[in-house]
Amino acid sequence: MTDDAAPDGDDTTTLTLEAFADTIVPGEKRGPDDVAIAGAAPGPGAVQAGALELLGMFAPGISEALDGYAQGVNEHALGYARERGLDLDAALPPFVALSYADRAALVRTLTTPGHPEKDFWVLLALFCNMAYDTAAHMHTTDALAAGHPGLTAMGFMPPDADGLWRFGAFSYGRELASIHPDTTSTGSPS
């Protein structure tokens, strides 16, 4: 991009990846100037849950590809906009300049069977999702103690004081169906 107002490389990558993560698990904007988060859903989403932190970890194996991811989805966004005659804000990375509906439509295209880069984009989506619903970049006990947005929204119940989970109440404790008439003495199908 040549526009003087465009963000520099690091910002472009961050904004673009935030916008991608926000497409997978959308959240509310962090402030009035937030352009990465589209504001498509109430409450914090994948970005607030730590998607960028997770993507930047060494363990997932894609940290060195993040600039490439951002560049790639921005190129796809330009093509998407061109095909539809959309006028994008040149001050923003092209993917960030798309509306949520257009971001989602593009992500759907990139992750649909038959797209030559499908595996590449599914991988990014997988880790964005995991930042929200697994908090895979944090110890789970720490994530719960910190009120991690995803685990908290899902109602993930906390552990005992030693950090291990135990559920003393776990059963309705009564027969709830007839067993199959041909069940063998070992409890298996006949």
Binding site: P26, A59, P159, W165, S171, L176
Partner: protein
């Protein structure tokens, strides 16, 4: 140059197929070395933690293929460390299946009756127990009640879980911290070690070659304990007999890579792969309807709202396991739990114009996660999986430090397989949506293809050399002294959880391996009791193998 280390038997992999072989052969007097690609994780290292790098990612192998992804164990104990310990025997009709070849696919020597004594051996060893309703979890209970409401039966499934130790933490896919799950770490493997077997973790076998005296060389890489993409060394071992039990996603890959060294492989190596006809649906329950329609309640909370609580699947519904039905019309439905991450991204939710796995509607679905109930189908697929050329090392190109890789399995479901999924989806929907109980949709196959936790049949037993890689004693055709005892040996989908059948087949294969060792001059016998010393099931099989018992 020093000569390679030698053993009588090298066992590749330490899941059911490997651990059972290692125990019996070591107890019988053979020098046994077990090579396991994954780490040896002890009980107090099994963590309740989703952090990447915790035991959850250390012990799993998730390989994405073309049209099918495989989830399997990657540690000492293999699948038994990560499984849910649901252990039904396969229904009688399964052994009569014809599948894609138009004639009975199992060897003539094996049917349900002939396998029973070997099922009994495993059931005694682990042990496997019939379960009562008192240990059925809320999720199993709500599924059972829904089945009953829809006119179906439902059974507490037999399991290998010590209920006195189980805390219903639902972290059993990370390995059991409480030794409640009767994995192989608690029976066959320590017993094998007590008899002198050596287990070498982080040793990933790459290929086999021949020795001049008719034995085999096993070539391995040593894997870095944290970053599985890194090779920390390599080496070679020699043995008279090789038992391959690297799992249905890896055994055929090792054999494919061995072909330039060993000569032509049987046609069925890396073909006829089955995903056990597996399919997943997620039901999001309406808590009010659970109370109103099913009459269920919990003392302090919603009527259900307990997705997180439990021990994997507890209840299975077997009404469609009817041998009089046509092939591909038979399936079981089972209540299941998957932790967040792999268990959530593929779940779909309705939208105004269809369904989606991401976006605002999915986020709202996640908000109701405690009301999720996963319904697991095991049906009859068509053995349509085929492995492409092997990757440079291992069974995949590893993407992440741990767990995630890209493999070469191709799977294009046939009309028969799609039919099984379609009718089981419809039945899951009928049962769970009746009277407004839930909203049900299948997991998407668009992202990683279909998804199996029970890969099978990629190097299978049979009587027909054209469609089976192994004879009915599990010996690789054309390569005497190589035996395959893992899930890849199972001929096809079982319509139920396969671990007990894999283990029973492994038990059944041992006398033949003992005979092969004796033929090669190794002084070895058969007849070890169960790992804890029980003898009833052992005594029952001895008449079947009398000539192998050491007096």
């Amino acid at each position: 140059m020093s000569s390679p280390e030698r053993a009588d038997v090298i066992v590749i992999g330490s899941g059911f197929g490997g651990a059972i072989a290692a125990y019996h052969l070591a107890a019988g007097g053979a020098k046994v070395v077990v090579l396991e690609r994954g780490p040896w994780v002890k009980t107090d290292e099994f963590e309740h933690d989703f952090l990447l790098g915790s035991s959850y990612t250390r012990v799993f192998d998730f390989v994405v293929g073309d049209g099918m992804s495989l989830l399997g164990g990657n540690c000492v104990g293999g699948g038994s460390v990560v499984y849910f310990a649901t252990m039904p025997r396969a229904p009688r009709f399964v052994f009569e299946r014809k599948g894609s070849i138009g004639r009975r696919m199992w060897p003539a020597a094996i049917d349900r009756d002939s396998l029973e004594p070997w099922y009994d051996r495993v059931a005694e060893a682990l042990p496997v127990r019939r379960q009562g309703w008192d240990v059925v979890t809320y999720s199993g209970g709500v599924f059972a009640a829904a089945c009953d409401h829809a006119g179906r039966t439902a059974n507490p499934a037999p399991t290998a879980i010590d209920n006195d130790l189980c805390t219903n933490c639902n972290w059993m896919m990370s390995g059991c911290r409480f030794d409640a799950k009767r994995s192989l770490l608690l029976n066959y493997l320590p017993a094998a070690v007590a008899h002198g077997a050596q287990i070498r973790p982080l040793h990933e076998v790459q290929y086999l070659s021949r020795t001049d005296d008719g034995g085999y060389q096993v070539h391995y890489n040593v894997i870095d304990e944290e970053d599985y993409r890194v090779t920390a060394g390599s080496g070679t071992l020699e043995a008279k007999i090789v038992v391959m039990a690297a799992g249905a996603g890896a055994t055929p890959v090792i054999l494919q890579r061995s072909e330039p060294h060993l000569g032509e492989m049987p046609h069925a190596v890396g073909r006829y792969f089955s995903g056990n006809g597996e399919r997943l649906n997620t039901a999001v329950l309406n808590e009010d309807k659970v109370a109103e329609v099913l009459g269920l309640s919990r003392p302090d909370g919603p009527a259900y709202g307990a997705s997180q609580i439990g021990k994997g699947p507890c209840v299975a519904s077997w009404d469609n396991l009817d041998g009089s039905l046509p092939e591909y019309d038979r399936f079981s439905l089972e209540q299941l739990y998957f932790p967040p991450g792999l268990g959530t991204i593929l779940a779909q939710t309705p939208t105004a114009d269809g369904r989606t796995w991401f976006g605002p509607e999915k986020k709202e679905m996640l908000r109701r996660w405690q009301s999720w109930l996963t319904i697991f189908t095991m049906s009859e697929d068509d053995n349509e999986g085929v492995f492409g050329p092997p990757p440079a090392t291992g069974n995949s190109v590893r993407i992440s430090q741990q767990m995630l890789g890209r493999g070469n399995l191709g799977y294009v479901p046939t009309a028969n397989t799609l039919h099984g999924w379609e009718i089981s989806d419809a039945e899951a929907k009928r049962v769970m949506e009746k009277d407004g109980l839930a909203t049900v949709l299948p997991w998407t196959n668009d992202l990683v293809g279909a998804y199996t936790v029970h890969p099978l049949a990629s190097c299978r037993i049979g009587d027909d050399p054209g469609t089976s890689a192994l004879d009915d004693r599990h010996e690789l055709r054309g390569h005497p002294g190589v035996f395959v005892t893992d899930g890849s040996a199972v001929p096809g989908a079982l319509t139920v959880n396969p671990a007990l059948t894999i283990a029973a087949l492994a038990e059944r294969s041992i006398p033949g391996i003992v005979r092969a060792l004796r033929d090669r001059g190794v002084d070895v016998g058969y007849g070890a009791p169960a790992p804890d010393g029980d003898t009833a099931a052992r005594d029952a099989v001895l008449p079947l193998v009398r000539d192998l018992v050491r007096e």
